[in-house]
Symmetry: C2
């Protein structure tokens, strides 16, 4: 541990972007914690949440294990990249079922990340959540997804307020990617133009910059990631 430069937590550390984050921050000599349904063997510590536990119980479990893992040390960054996708409009048979899943995957994880950050993030640290460009407007074909992401966007604004509960000088921001270049997306959208997809390396590099105080956007920003000809532009909504 002598060479550890700091500590970060990745919520959703076993997903495509989450695994890229864990791997990246390990190469940078950070202590890396992962929270997910399954362990990421590259992480220094794993917190495994139970998919059928309540929101409150998941929060209690995560807070309890974080206390033990950190032993009074502080986190430099909390990166919530958990999420998922399911469609359906109000007339769909699976409307509520999918809306429930979207809420759990995006909002439960984001809120628990905020709860961890309020207690364990150092002053001047970084908390990132994951939003979605489409949810800035109506999303008729994926109503549950849109509601969940709209809630995440509003959560970012609340956390950035003076009395939102974050440590002093925290940067809270959301990334709003269009399509991330992941193996699953390549598999299911194999005919797409990959040059408009955002690479995972770009995202981990962006998190690293923010962690190091470089190119930080205004607190509470929703940052669009728009990729064209393999070049990604980052701009506040």
């Amino acid at each position: 541990m002598a060479t550890t430069v700091g500590r970060v937590l990745v919520y959703g550390g076993k997903g495509a972007l989450g695994s890229a984050c864990v791997s990246f921050f390990k190469t940078k000599n950070y202590w890396v914690g992962s929270i997910d349904l399954a362990p990421n063997e590259q992480a220094d510590a794993n917190i495994l949440v139970k998919v059928d536990a309540t929101w409150k119980d998941q929060e209690s479990q995560v807070l309890g294990e974080m206390d033990s893992l950190l032993g009074g040390n502080k986190l430099d960054g909390v990166f919530c990249v958990a999420g998922g996708w399911a469609g359906g409009n109000a007339a769909s048979k699976d409307f509520v079922k999918n809306a429930d899943l979207m809420w759990k995957q995006s909002v439960w994880t984001s809120a628990i990340s905020a709860s961890v950050a309020s207690k364990h993030l150092k002053e001047g640290g970084v908390l990132t959540l994951t939003g979605a460009m489409p949810a800035l407007e109506g999303t008729p074909g994926m109503i549950g997804y849109g509601m969940a992401k709209a809630a995440v966007h509003q959560l970012v604004k609340s956390l950035a307020c003076d009395k939102g509960g974050m440590p002093a000088n925290t940067l809270t921001a959301a990334i709003l990617p269009v399509t991330l270049d992941t193996p699953m997306n390549r598999k299911f959208m194999s005919e797409a133009d990959f040059s408009t997809w955002t690479s995972l390396e770009f995202v981990t590099g962006l998190f690293d910059k923010w962690l190091n105080g470089s190119e930080r956007p205004a607190n509470g920003s929703l940052m669009k990631l728009v990729t064209k000809d393999n070049v990604t532009d980052v701009s506040a909504v």
Copy 2:
């Protein structure tokens, strides 16, 4: 039933605004259904949801009972006025507990109302949901409330889209009151300036206008209700 002029459903029909809606539409000779945790004796029919049932189970129960109650007849309006309030920032002990409650009280009810409307509302009918002005910005002192209301606002936009699942020519809109003039609010904010509070009669009158095709805002509107000197101004956000 010979004099029934139409059928409306009030979600949250036992609350202060809900009871005012049930009472108002009864005097106008509508068939009125109420959904709530407790029955409203003035309503023609009551659907009682169980507070500990899942979102999906509440939806299934409500859709099943609505099928039986309507027997093929259509609704003219669905008014979701269910909701509640709880505070807390990300550092609060009750952050997730309260966020969970807010989600259930505002978003579960709004989504189930949309599901009912997609199946039982007549063409050109009205669906209203209940938003909140503060959730247009960050809400650091009531984060769970803000997230839930932001989700409701985005839901309204999705439902107003062409393929959101609503019957043709439905008006879907949200009311965004500041403070409603209810007995509970008078009790807990007895020192406030009541002339800036919106009367329940104003809201029921507004719903009645929209139901009758009068002064309808654009589909998908979030309508602020701002009261000053006992006069309420209605305007789109």
